[in-house]
């Protein structure tokens, strides 16, 4: 679990671990199902050691083991930095591109067959994500994230279409 995510989830108000988990699940919908409570507590104790989070005095009224966590000033500063950071995952297409080239050069595999297999896998994923998106209410947090994944997969599938067209031509000219 990425530390900054847990940290930023605490910025709203001091919270208990289960509340953070509920907020994450709300934001991620079916994509958050793999996150377990243990991961959040492990991350919280790391953040505590780093001085970014404090464990507040236990409120007796909510039970003996209910620990409420809050950001320290350093934690707040880290959240502000994280929000301002511009990061974006880089598309990782070079590996597949090289697969096609090396397969064709060595005559080990038909590049078109490799494209077909890849396309089947991406369509399968697109189907799953789209089913999940259709099950969400319009405008939910999770629907927006699912839409992003759908559009990504669609872009990858279009690139595979370009790969297919290109390699079909190349194989004809061999």
């Amino acid at each position: 679990m990425q530390q900054e995510v847990v940290l930023a989830m605490l910025a709203k108000e001091p919270s208990q671990g289960y509340q953070l988990r509920a907020r994450l699940n709300q934001a991620l919908g079916p994509l958050g199902e793999a996150i377990n409570a243990g991961q959040i507590y492990v991350t919280l104790s790391r953040l505590e050691k780093a001085g970014l989070v404090v464990r507040e005095a236990t409120d007796a009224s909510i039970g003996p083991d209910r620990k409420v966590f809050d950001l320290t000033p350093a934690g707040q500063e880290r959240v502000a930095e994280w929000l301002a950071e511009v990061t974006w995952p880089k598309p990782d297409l070079a590996e597949f591109h090289l697969k096609l080239i090396t397969a064709a050069q060595a005559g080990l595999a038909d590049p078109i067959a490799l494209v077909d297999a890849q396309r089947r896998e991406l369509l399968r994923r697109l189907r799953d994500v789209q089913q999940a998106e259709m099950a969400e209410t319009d405008g939910s947090d999770a629907a927006l994230l699912l839409e992003g994944i759908v559009l990504r997969l669609q872009a990858d599938l279009r690139w595979l279409g370009a790969c297919e067209a290109n390699w079909t031509e190349r194989m004809k000219n061999r």
Partner: protein
């Protein structure tokens, strides 16, 4: 000349093509728009036909629905041979047994949503009252009962396409043939239409969809790819992967 119906699981195939061809021009200029296509559409399935522009997929759909006549080959719909029907027979087929959905909706601008859906029901011989009731029933099915008096110009793209789908359904056709149904739609409207197809599929409707939209194809049970007039690949889609594997929150 009558031939036996092709031997496939006869209880399952609702629409079958055997050696289907459509040619234009002659000699040097001969174009095989549809080139020896064999296809079995199973009752209740959603089949997507994909392929680049000009591969012949729309021509194939037009042949399947009797909008156009094949140069050769056979077509069977629900156990009846349809490639040799008279013009009258074809018109009847298009009216009663096939539902078309087009990219540009093809609604009549001066008619309300309800009147657009009513029209084919009237042409099929329903009384005005029956036609009106059926139109309302199918508008309701596509979630637009409250838009029945709107003109198409007062509807969003997704809503127009849903009206067009209600119109395609109103005579309870054996098969519905959408041609690039999301081609004019943005992402949200595409989802509206996909949801509707999903409901119709669950209700047992047979859909053959021509599309180059991967999102539409991903909702199908089966995808066939077309190149230069011929079917070249078939993919059967199964889901069931783990969604949570698709996001990562690690760093």
């Amino acid at each position: 000349m009558t031939k036996e119906q092709p031997m496939t699981e006869p209880d399952k195939a609702i629409l079958q093509a055997r050696g289907l061809r459509k040619e234009y021009g002659r000699d040097e200029g001969l174009v095989r728009a549809v080139d020896d296509v064999d296809l079995d559409v199973i009752r209740g399935e959603t089949l997507a036909i994909m392929g680049p522009s000009g591969c012949g997929k729309s021509t194939l759909l037009h042949l399947l629905g009797g909008l156009d006549r094949p140069t050769g080959g056979e077509l069977w719909l629900d156990g009846k041979r349809i490639d040799q029907l008279s013009e009258r027979g074809l018109a009847h087929l298009r009216r009663r047994e096939i539902g078309f959905v087009f990219q540009a909706y093809h609604l009549m601008d001066e008619l309300t949503a309800r009147e657009n859906v009513e029209l084919p029901a009237l042409l099929a011989g329903n009384s005005p009252r029956q036609a009106r009731e059926r139109a309302m029933e199918f508008l309701d099915q596509v979630g637009l009962a409250d838009r029945s008096t709107h003109l198409p110009s007062a509807l969003s793209g997704g809503q127009r396409q849903r009206v067009a789908i209600a119109r395609a359904l109103v005579n309870e056709p054996v098969v519905v043939l959408p041609d690039e149904p999301t081609g004019n739609l943005d992402s949200a409207a595409t989802l509206e239409v996909l949801r509707l197809f999903d409901h119709l599929h669950a209700a047992g409707l047979t859909l053959v969809i021509v599309t180059h939209d991967e999102r539409v194809a991903a909702t199908a049970d089966r995808i066939v790819s077309m190149r230069d007039g011929a079917l070249v690949d078939e993919t059967r889609l199964t889901g069931g992967g783990n969604l949570a594997d698709l996001v990562t929150l690690e760093r």
